[in-house]
C-alpha cells in the first residue's frame, strides 16, 4: 500500500505533462528565444517573438527580401493613380492549414480585424483606411494619404497576416491557441510560456519546408540559451549575451551571426522642461556621452555607435560612412558654462527596469558626472515607463525604439519626433513645423533620390536640435550550429527560419 503510494507520487511528478516523443535530429529545427509565448494571435500583440513564431504559421500578401518587396500570397500588385490604393492579385489555390482555400474574403476579413476594435497593432494598421474586395482574387487596400513604399513594406510584417475567416470566427477570442494560416508550418502543440512546436504543412502552396518540425523554446536566462546551444538541444539562439560570444566562436560546431539592427538607443530629453529646453545643454550632453565606452562595456563591441539620429541601417539614413559623433567633455563643459551652468546641475534620470538600460544608465551617469551633471537614477518598472514618459514634466530617460515593421523612416523616426505624436511616442515634446512638413513630404514621395534628399534635411536639423541624444544601435546576435543553413538572419527582431535545413 505504502509502496504503491510512493510509486503513484513518482508517476505523478515525472509524468504529469506529456513527455515529447524524441524527435530525430535533422528533422527538427529548434530555436531558443527569450520570451514565453502564450498566445498566437497576430492582432493582439506587438511582441516581436510572438510575431516571429507567427511568421512561420501565417503569411502576408507580400514578402520582404533584403530591401525589396516580393510576391507571397499576392502574385502581383500595383499602386493606383491616386497614389494611396494598392491593388493586389491573389495567388490561386493557396490552402489554409484547415484545408480551406484562401479567398479575397479572408484577406478583407484579416485586415478589418487587424484595424478593428481591440486590436493592439493599430499603430501599424491604422494607416489603412479601407479594404475592398474587387473579385475573388483581387483586393484593394487604401491608405488615408499617400505612403508610398512605407506602407507596402509594412505589409510584409506578420501583423498583416492573412487569417482564415472561418477559423477565426469559430474559435472567437481563443483563436490565439489555435491559429490557422497558410504558412509552411502549422501548430502542433503550444506549451504556454515554454515552447511552441510546429510541424511541416504538406499542402503548402510553394516549396515545402525542408525540416519536418520547427520548435521555439523559451529560455529566460541568457546563460541557459548558450548552455542549451552548446549541449545541442537547440540549433539557434537569439540574443546571445556578449560575454558568451567568444565561447560560441571557439566551439568548432558553433558560430556567431551578428546582424546590425535598427534598434535605436537614445536619451530622451524633455524640451518643455528646464534646463533641457536650452539647446546648448542638449548639445553639451551630446558631447559628454562616451558612445564607444557604452558599446564596449555593455555590448562588448557588438553595437554601432550612433552617427546620426537613427541607426545607419534605416532606409535613407545615408550617413553610414560619416565619422563617429564626437566625445568631448571639455567642450561640453564649456557649452554648459555658456548655457549658464558652469557648475553643472542635478537632474533625475528615468531608466526602465531592464538590464541593458540599467547598464547604459550606469555609464551615462558616470559620463555626465564628468561634466558636472549629476544624474539620480530612477528605475521605473517597464509596465509604468510609457505612462511616466508621457507626463509633461518627465525627467530625461534612456530608451530604445526598436520594433517598427520596416526600417522605413516613416516608422523609424516619425513616431518619435513628429509633433502629432506628442503625448504618445514623441516623448520629447519636440515640435518643429519644418520637420513635420519634411516628414509628410518624404513619406509620400516615390522617387528614391528625392526621398533621400528630404530625409537628409531632417537628419541635419535633428543633429542640431537634438531632442534625443542618439547613442547606438546594437547588433542582433545569434548563435547557431554550423550545420544549419538557409536561414537569413534579420536586422529586425523577426527572423524567418522556415527555409532552414541541416547539412
Amino acid at each position: 500500500m505504502k509502496t504503491l503510494l510512493v510509486i503513484a507520487v513518482f508517476a505523478m511528478l515525472f509524468g504529469l505533462s506529456g513527455v515529447t516523443p524524441a524527435l530525430a535530429k535533422g528533422d527538427t529545427l529548434t530555436v531558443g528565444i527569450s520570451l514565453g509565448i502564450k498566445s498566437l494571435d497576430p492582432h493582439t500583440t506587438t511582441q516581436a517573438f510572438v510575431h516571429t513564431v507567427l511568421a512561420h504559421i501565417n503569411e502576408t500578401l507580400v514578402g520582404i527580401e533584403g530591401d525589396s518587396v516580393v510576391p507571397l500570397l499576392a502574385e502581383s500588385w500595383e499602386l493606383l493613380d491616386d497614389k494611396r490604393s494598392y491593388r493586389f492579385t491573389l495567388k490561386q489555390g493557396v490552402k489554409f492549414h484547415n484545408g480551406e482555400v484562401m479567398t479575397a474574403d479572408d484577406v478583407v476579413f484579416s485586415f478589418k480585424r487587424a484595424s478593428g476594435q481591440g486590436a493592439a497593432i493599430k499603430a501599424w494598421s491604422s494607416y489603412l483606411s479601407d479594404v475592398e474586395k474587387v473579385d475573388d482574387r483581387t483586393v484593394i487596400l487604401r491608405t488615408a494619404r499617400p505612403l508610398s513604399d512605407a506602407f507596402l513594406g509594412s505589409l510584409g510584417h506578420p501583423w498583416a497576416s492573412i487569417l482564415n475567416k472561418k477559423a477565426v470566427i469559430s474559435t472567437g477570442q481563443d483563436y490565439g491557441t489555435a491559429p490557422v494560416g497558410t504558412g509552411k508550418f502549422r501548430l502542433r502543440r503550444l506549451v504556454t510560456g515554454d515552447r511552441v512546436e510546429l510541424e511541416r504543412f504538406d499542402d503548402y502552396h510553394a516549396d515545402k519546408a525542408k525540416v519536418k518540425n520547427l520548435t521555439f523554446r523559451t529560455f529566460l536566462e541568457a546563460t541557459s540559451r548558450t548552455i542549451e546551444l552548446e549541449s545541442g538541444s537547440v540549433d539557434v539562439v537569439v540574443d546571445v549575451p556578449p560575454v558568451d560570444i567568444s565561447r560560441i566562436k571557439e566551439n568548432p560546431d558553433l558560430e556567431i551571426v551578428a546582424v546590425p539592427s535598427w534598434r535605436n538607443y537614445h536619451i530622451g530629453l524633455n524640451l518643455k522642461k528646464a534646463p533641457y529646453d536650452n539647446i546648448k545643454v542638449r548639445q553639451a550632453i551630446n558631447l559628454a556621452v562616451n558612445r564607444p565606452g557604452i558599446v564596449k562595456v555593455v555590448f562588448r563591441g557588438y553595437a554601432e555607435p550612433a552617427r546620426g539620429p537613427v541607426p545607419s541601417i534605416v532606409a535613407y539614413s545615408d550617413y553610414k560612412n560619416s565619422p563617429d559623433l564626437p566625445y568631448d567633455p571639455e567642450k561640453a563643459k564649456k557649452l554648459l558654462a555658456e548655457a549658464g551652468f558652469p557648475n553643472g546641475f542635478k537632474s533625475g534620470f528615468i531608466v526602465p527596469e531592464r538590464s541593458d538600460f540599467q547598464n547604459i544608465a550606469t555609464i551615462l551617469q558616470s559620463n555626465l558626472r564628468d561634466v558636472g551633471i549629476d544624474l539620480k537614477i530612477n528605475i521605473v518598472d517597464y509596465g509604468n515607463f510609457a505612462d511616466v514618459a508621457r507626463q509633461p514634466d518627465h525627467d530625461p530617460f534612456v530608451n530604445n525604439w526598436g520594433n517598427p515593421p520596416t526600417s522605413n523612416p516613416f516608422f523609424a523616426i516619425d513616431p518619435l519626433i513628429h509633433s502629432k505624436f506628442i503625448g504618445q511616442t514623441n516623448r520629447f515634446f519636440y515640435s518643429n513645423p519644418k520637420v513635420d512638413a519634411l516628414l509628410e513630404k518624404g513619406v509620400a514621395v516615390t522617387d528614391k533620390a528625392e526621398k533621400t534628399a528630404i530625409y537628409k534635411e531632417v537628419w541635419d536639423i535633428l543633429n542640431v536640435d537634438l531632442p534625443m541624444i542618439p547613442l547606438l544601435a546594437p547588433s542582433n546576435i545569434f548563435g547557431k550550429t554550423k550545420s544549419l543553413k538557409g536561414v537569413t538572419f534579420s536586422s529586425s527582431l523577426i527572423t524567418y527560419y522556415g527555409n532552414g535545413y541541416f547539412e
Partner: protein, 309 residues
C-alpha cells in the same frame, strides 16, 4: 470530521474575497496604465479610452471590484487576459499544474530526505554525520534559491553535462529545479525532524518501549517518529506554502512556465485579470494545504481527534 472539513472549506469564501480585495487595492494603487501597455505607446487617446471602457478600467474602484465578484460568483468567470485574450482560467490551467508539480516534487523530496537525515541525526546525535548534516542544513537556509539554481546549472549542466539547464517537460529537466527549490525546506525539515525526534527519543514512553525489549528501528519508526511527526507536519505545511510562492524563483532561473512566473509577468505587464486569477489559485492552494495538514494531525494524533468530531 466531514463537518469540520466543510466548515473549513466555508472559510475559503471570506479568504478568497479578502485576497481579491487586497489585490484589487494593490493593483489599483499600482502606477502604469494597462491600456497603454497593451496598445503600446503609439496608441491614440481614443484607442486608450476605448480600451479602458471595454475593460471597465474607467469605473470607480468599488464598481470594478463589485463587478469582478459578481462575474466570478454568478458566471464563474474571472475574465480574460488583456494581452492574450485567453480566459484566465485557461492560462491558469496551463500554468498551475506545472507549479504544483514543481512544488509537490520539491516538498516530497524535502520531506523524504529531510526526515531521513533528521532521524539519522537524532539517533546519532553529535556524530560526524550529524555535524556535517547540520552544517549543510544551515547552508541550505542561507543560500538564496536563485543562486543555488545558478550554481546547480553551472555544475550539472555546464561542467558535467548531466542535466539540462532549463524547462520542465522531461524527468531530467525536473531534477535541478526540484533540488534548488527544495533546499531551504529540506534544511528546515531536517532540523525540525532532528530536534523533534531528540525530544521524543528522551521521553518516557520511548523508554517504556525499550523496556519491552522492542527493536531500536521499530522504536524509532513506530513509537518515536509518529509522535515527532506533529511539529514536522506543521513545518512541512508551512514550507509547502512557501514553496508555492518561492517557486517563482526556480521558475525564473529554469525558465519554467509556472503560475508564479505568470503572476509576476502579469504584474509587470499590468494584466490585472491574470494577476487576480493566479493569486486566487495560489491562495486557495495554501488554504487547502492547511486543511490537509489539520486532517493529517488528527490522523496522527488521537488526542486531536475528539476535538474535530
Amino acid at each position: 470530521m466531514v463537518r469540520f472539513c466543510l466548515r473549513r472549506l466555508l472559510t475559503l469564501i471570506p479568504v478568497t474575497l479578502g485576497v481579491t480585495f487586497l489585490l484589487f487595492s494593490l493593483l489599483y494603487m499600482t502606477p502604469g496604465d494597462p491600456a497603454l501597455l497593451v496598445l503600446g505607446p503609439e496608441a491614440t487617446e481614443d484607442a486608450l479610452r476605448e480600451f479602458r471602457r471595454e475593460h471597465g478600467l474607467d469605473q470607480p474602484f468599488l464598481v470594478r471590484y463589485g463587478r469582478f465578484v459578481y462575474n466570478a460568483v454568478v458566471h464563474q468567470d474571472v475574465g480574460r487576459s488583456y494581452i492574450t485574450h485567453r480566459t484566465v482560467a485557461s492560462e491558469i490551467a496551463d500554468a498551475f499544474p506545472v507549479t504544483l508539480t514543481l512544488s509537490i516534487g520539491a516538498i516530497f523530496f524535502a520531506t523524504l530526505m529531510g526526515m531521513i537525515f533528521g532521524i539519522i541525526c537524532a539517533v546519532k546525535q553529535y556524530s560526524i554525520f550529524d555535524n556535517v548534516a547540520m552544517v549543510f542544513a544551515m547552508l541550505g537556509i542561507a543560500t538564496p534559491v536563485f543562486y543555488l539554481g545558478i550554481l546547480l546549472i553551472l555544475l550539472f549542466s555546464v561542467h558535467l553535462h548531466w542535466l539540462p539547464s532549463s524547462g520542465f517537460d522531461t524527468p531530467a529537466q525536473r531534477i535541478l529545479p526540484w533540488i534548488a527549490l527544495s533546499s531551504v525546506s529540506l534544511s528546515i525539515i531536517t532540523r525540525m525532524t532532528r530536534s523533534s525526534m531528540l525530544e521524543v527519543i528522551r521521553s518516557d514512553y520511548i523508554r517504556t518501549a525499550r523496556a519491552k525489549g522492542q527493536k531500536e528501528t521499530v522504536i524509532i519508526v513506530k513509537h518515536a517518529l509518529r509522535n515527532a511527526l506533529i511539529p514536522i507536519i506543521t513545518i512541512i505545511g508551512i514550507q509547502f506554502g512557501h514553496l508555492l510562492g518561492g517557486s517563482i524563483l526556480a521558475e525564473s532561473v529554469f525558465s519554467i512556465p509556472g503560475v508564479g512566473r505568470l503572476a509576476v509577468d502579469a504584474i509587470k505587464s499590468r494584466d490585472y485579470p491574470v494577476v487576480q486569477g493566479a493569486v486566487i489559485y495560489l491562495a486557495l492552494a495554501y488554504v487547502l494545504i492547511n486543511l490537509l495538514v489539520d486532517i493529517l494531525y488528527t490522523w496522527i494524533d488521537p488526542r486531536l481527534r475528539t476535538r474535530y468530531r
